[in-house]
Symmetry: C4
Subunit: 234 residues, 4 copies
């Protein structure tokens, strides 16, 4: 019996939401979770189809990407996940999908503008998109550099990973995170929906603009912070 079973189960459950919520086909996508006290990350093994994935397949690595437990190779995106855990100390789960509309925005290299309250309920900002990676970075250590692209985007735009829990990696697709693996995958579900809504909105009205700041703040702060009154307060 693994000492990390509780973490593997959480990460397994969150990964199984990817096919259930149609956030990726075949083997694409991966969710991880961290136990900061133990200093370990649990993550999906690389290239395993969801309909064959089992709890015991989840791989445990340390923050230097060394496999601690598990007979399978961890996700090829592991180094992106661990870099985010090292630099965003408040997060407990990371999710990467190839959900169709979020990927389309990433491929279009456009941030998703905040066009309505479904978006504002989750973040004040546009969903940011990274720069396209330089040739040098691609050839250096691609998955690690993907993480650096995300960090650079947050620094350049003065974004907080607690306030903006999602990003589009240009030409690639979305990463989301949250306090635990369940929140990370929840944010991927929300991101795909707001990506589709924004797409349709601009097809109906190409001059639709970011909604007013008071409305954004109203929706965001009724769900977040000390004055939140949405939900059951737990």
């Amino acid at each position: 019996m693994s000492r990390y079973t509780y973490l593997k189960e959480q990460v397994f459950e969150a990964n199984m939401e990817i096919p259930k919520e149609n956030l990726a086909i075949v083997t694409f996508g991966n969710v991880s979770g961290i136990d900061r006290q133990e200093g370990v990350v649990a993550i999906k093994p690389s290239g395993v189809p969801y309909n064959r994935l089992k709890v015991e397949d989840i791989v445990i690595v340390d923050l230097d990407n060394v496999v601690i437990e598990g007979s399978m190779r961890p996700s090829s995106d592991t180094r992106t996940h661990t870099l985010l855990y090292k630099n965003f100390p408040s997060i407990g789960g990371v999710c990467h999908t190839h959900s169709t509309y979020a990927v389309a925005w990433a491929q279009a290299q456009k941030p998703i503008p905040n066009l309505g309250t479904t978006h504002a309920d989750h973040l004040v900002q546009a969903v940011p998109v990274t720069e396209v990676m330089t040739d040098e970075a691609i050839l250096r250590d691609y998955e690690l550099e993907t993480g650096y692209q995300i960090l650079e985007t947050f620094t350049r735009n003065a974004l907080s990973p607690e306030e903006v829990e999602m990003v589009l990696v240009a030409c690639h697709g979305p990463f989301t995170w949250g306090k635990d693996p369940a929140k990370a995958i929840y944010n991927s579900v929300v991101l795909e929906e707001i990506a589709k809504m924004a797409f349709l909105t601009l097809q109906i009205n190409a001059s639709a603009e970011t909604i007013k700041q008071t409305l954004i703040d109203k929706h965001y702060f009724r769900k977040h912070g000390k004055d939140a009154y949405y939900g059951q307060g737990c």
Copy 2:
């Protein structure tokens, strides 16, 4: 045993149609129902995922939004619902969703034009869209003001809530209503479909126009009013 069980069951069933008909993801959306003799409204609790919602979770409030029965906090949109019940005396149920195409029209701040008989079967008019709320109103009492935006839209356009059982709140999403909670959610299903049909129609033919009044009236009145001959007359 609650004296409002019959109402809670109706409202529970109507709420469960939201995920079944794909009208909102995660916890979004809510349906309520009113017992006008008792002066109480039953409504979904705030922020509860549909796959965990139970009949007994439905909250009973009075028309001043005071909780009469239930251990959970009612939907954050409760004040919008009760304002509609107070001002639209013929309605028995209200539904709010974040269905994708209806939200896109709301975010585009465009009324949905009456482009065909699927629309005309349900309402003679375009689906109206409210004005964007003023900063003052947003900061005052947002959910109550959302209700006032809807009332103002109906007054300004001289619409009857018996004839037009749906509205788009600008930058936000749809509200629908009807004689009972089942009809309110039925109208949300119909609205999403006509929102998608109108979207596609205008993509195929950007100059498509509102259909002729005789055709609108023919379809509307074969389903509504004393000369209706659609359905089983019950």
Copy 3:
């Protein structure tokens, strides 16, 4: 036991394909079938939701629209169906849906051009669209006139109902037919798919044109006529 049970069962099964194939929401749409020797048509009752429809609900009418058997009111579109049976002597089933993409083309008042082999496998022509009905016709006998609109479209375009088993009624939606109720609903499934494919094709390439006649004929005649070699020849 009804003497028309065999026909009611066929028509019931074909109607149940409408929700299963997502060709209409709630109560919309209807399929009928004819027994030409008995001179009777079996059709869905008006306004009954599919999840409550039973074989015994199917209504039997004669070609003058008089109810022969059944306790429910027949579909409000019955007179359109019977007119088609009277004028298209080779057909055995008729289907009317509100499928989303076919309705969008009908609302756009555009025929669906023959842009590829999926279309050409089923018909040589564009899917025709009727004229918009005159005010006089709408006020006269709407459902009967809908049938006349279809007949007029076939006459004007010199179309054969054996070769073109589908039509778009302008501002309304599709009617399809075939040798029996199963073939009628099959054609509605095909029509919705070619409507979606044509929509997407023109979004990708607005100047896409009707494919060459040799290719159309090749695909049509490998499935139809004496030299057909698609399928199992039965």
Copy 4:
């Protein structure tokens, strides 16, 4: 008991993925597999609906399209499959679908540009599209000529069938292949997804361009070739 049961089962399973993955409606599409030692190809029978297809219905033909085993007529596309097997000696399975977005690109007669890493994970190139077939070829031996169109496209563009396992036949739809029938259908699933992503990307940003070569190569070669590190290496 057939000596080809193992092959029929593989081909049956792969065919059943077509409806499960929504890659074609009704009877459209077909998957085959080859046993190169036996010199036989197993393929779906022509025009059989998937919900009635059984393992024993799969037809065995030789590379000259002569039926070796089976009581049903093989797919009308058999000659396209066998020509591909004869000219692409490394492939073990071929799949043809009418998946909606891939067909739309084929009807639009446009190659699908490589706009992101989901595409680059599977092929370095754009998904090629054939020329429109000449009248002479259509009238000669259509299905065989469809195969020649594909071969000509690969020759003209100097493509390798090991590196590019998919093609769009102009005005028709996609063919994919791979080392076995399972890989052939896998590639059809992937193609439909990248066809949809590319469609949406260009709707959001009409000037989106092929991604940089270093990024394409990085993604392709982390999944393919001797330095691949995606998956479990088996």
